[in-house]
């Protein structure tokens, strides 16, 4: 598997760069090849309007979805390890429903001056953090470490509660305003600005670095709680570290692009099928594959029905179904 990684990882990196270049070159606006070259070379005679589209819209958007795809895949791989559950994903602790309820409430109820000042992203992040704290609070048992099963059940309960709150808000809200809320719920990276990128990149690099240094401990966790503890791993502490990393990665992703599902669930399985489950190879490959998938799907969202733009969540769900069925078949064979 190690030798496969040495071939697959550089290949995936090249594919990621190619997909990113495609994401920059193509989009809703039709730009000729000579203009594309002129814009990317920053020539003085490049059309100003098109140059603005590429430099202020497409490039930050492609970088953002790349970072979000990588971050969600990383968070998914870590959550599957922390909970030793192949169905775990970054949203398992109620993060998406918490973020959704907060964002929908803000869009529908708060005056636009407030949402413009504070920003829907920050409100969504706060909702995700609140859901996380509720899930963690419900999972605590006095004098005992967090039980993965209890965490999953608490996450389901918190998710259900926030989902019903979101549905209630959408039901009673003004139909004109709820359309904006629905757009947000389906996820889009449109309108991402350069200033949103540094925090995403910093969080991804720091969290990936921290967990790559602890790859051996993560590997041991796969063997079961007791076996990891017998190997000297403080599993409770490691699990809390993973949960906090997941909240940061997912909260930032949600705040920039809304709810982007499936990446965190499917991509780690794809990477595991390709290079196995050892984290020193699984985490880097998951991140690169996550970036590739999300950049590619975002490009399709922009171009399939151009000039109309499809929500990320809709196309992702469509593309996620076939690999998910394959993974299920693989799991069924293994049982």
């Amino acid at each position: 598997m190690q030798s496969r990684f040495l071939v697959l990882f550089p290949t995936a990196m090249v594919v990621m760069v190619l997909v990113a270049i495609a994401g920059i070159l193509w989009g809703t606006a039709d730009i000729s090849w000579s203009d594309r070259v002129a814009i990317l070379m920053r020539n003085e005679d490049a059309p100003r309007g098109l140059s603005l589209i590429v430099w202020q819209w497409r490039i930050p958007r492609v970088l953002a979805v790349g970072l979000i795809g990588a971050g969600l895949a990383l968070a998914g791989a870590l959550m599957q390890t922390a909970l030793r559950n192949p169905m775990a994903d970054p949203y398992l602790m109620g993060l998406s429903s918490g973020a959704s309820a907060a964002a929908v409430a803000a869009i529908i109820w708060l005056p636009s001056e407030v949402t413009e000042t504070v920003g829907v992203p920050l409100i969504a992040f706060s909702g995700a953090a609140l859901a996380f704290l509720m899930t963690l609070g419900l999972s605590q048992q006095r004098g005992r470490q967090l039980d993965p099963l209890i965490v999953i059940l608490a996450g389901v309960a918190v998710s259900l509660m926030f989902q019903s709150v979101t549905a209630f808000f959408l039901y009673i809200g003004d139909p004109h305003v709820t359309r904006n809320a629905l757009d947000w719920l389906m996820g889009t990276a449109a309108g991402t600005e350069w200033r949103e990128l540094p925090l995403l990149a910093l969080a991804l690099v720091v969290i990936a670095g921290v967990f790559l240094m602890r790859a051996n401990a993560l590997d041991a966790t796969l063997l079961g709680e007791e076996r990891a503890q017998a190997l000297g791993i403080r599993t409770g502490r490691l699990r809390v570290m993973i949960f906090v990393a997941t909240v940061v990665l997912t909260g930032l992703a949600v705040s920039v692009a809304g709810i982007v599902g499936f990446i965190g669930l499917i991509v780690p399985h794809m990477a595991r099928l390709l290079v196995g489950a050892r984290h020193r190879v699984l985490l880097p490959l998951s991140m690169v594959l996550g970036a590739i998938v999300l950049i590619a799907v975002d490009l399709l969202c922009r171009t399939l029905l151009a000039p109309e733009e499809l929500p990320l969540g809709v196309l992702l769900a469509l593309f996620a179904a076939p690999p998910f069925i394959l993974i299920l078949r693989g799991l069924r064979r293994a049982v």
């Binding site: 796969l222 079961g224 007791e226 503890q229 017998a230 190997l231 000297g232 489950a277 050892r278």
Partner: protein, 251 residues
């Protein structure tokens, strides 16, 4: 002057779910001896072992190794000195037997050629070298147990903690692996339910019932007809190294 026991448990009490479960357990395992913690289901055997590999915290008492309290060891330092074969289920998708052995060695800080040599030698010992690159989640229960045994043998700590090590193993591998443990002359504390194996491999037996040590000594002395009737509700006795069973005691 007598040296400190390799493993010394003094007045150990452990609470489970807020209630006392193990109470005042004391036992000492001298260096190089194989001791067995024997008792009926739910007697507290696994809880004592869990406390030794620090998955459980004692409510009272202390555990020392070579005269030093185990709380004074860093977690990874203690794991290098005291390895455990335990009962636990994991997420094995994407792992192979090679990976499982390597994970143990890597967690203890080994790498490079030493890791590869130890890994392959251990996999040969447990008869899994041919299957070393097969998916671990498709191994049988016995093969998986051999895989975890290989991990422990590769790490080869000074103290072996074995919680029902013969689980899922066929007769051949029960004998092969316990012979290997005995051959290494390490300090061993294990739980076993097969009393024939207890009689064959253990130097000393500690009989535990309802969380307390009720008897200890040589296997032939502890596996008395009276103890077996009182604590296992079985009318049986030891003849040489074989258990002769007359039947269950009905109450």
């Amino acid at each position: 002057m007598q040296s400190d026991p390799a493993l010394d448990i003094r007045n150990l009490s452990v609470d489970v779910g807020g209630k006392p479960y193990v109470q005042g357990v004391s036992l000492a395992v001298p260096k190089g001896e194989v001791h067995c913690l024997l008792g009926p289901n739910g007697a507290g055997k696994t809880t004592v072992l869990r406390t030794i590999y620090r998955a459980e915290r004692p409510a009272a008492g202390e555990i020392a190794a070579d005269g030093r309290d185990i709380e004074d060891y860093a977690y990874h330092e203690w794991a290098r000195k005291c390895g455990a074969l335990v009962q636990s289920s994991g997420l094995l998708a994407g792992l192979t037997p090679s990976d499982i052995v390597e994970i143990g060695l890597s967690a203890l800080g080994l790498d490079g050629v030493d890791l590869v040599l130890r890994r392959d030698e251990a996999l040969k010992l447990v008869g899994l070298i041919q299957k070393r690159n097969q998916p671990a989640d498709r191994l049988s229960g016995g093969e998986l147990q051999r895989c975890y045994f290989a991990q422990l043998l590769a790490c080869d700590p000074e103290i072996y903690i074995l919680d029902e090590p013969t689980n899922h193993l066929d007769l051949h591998y029960q004998l092969v692996l316990l012979n290997e443990v005995k051959r290494r002359s390490r300090t061993v504390l294990m739980t076993l339910h097969d009393l024939n194996l207890v009689a064959r491999y253990c130097d000393h037996v500690h009989l535990i019932s309802s969380g307390r040590i009720v008897d200890h000594g040589k296997p032939a002395d502890v596996l008395s007809r009276q103890n077996l009737m009182e604590h296992f509700l079985v009318d049986a006795h030891l003849n040489m190294q074989s258990l002769v069973i007359n039947g269950p005691v009905l109450r």
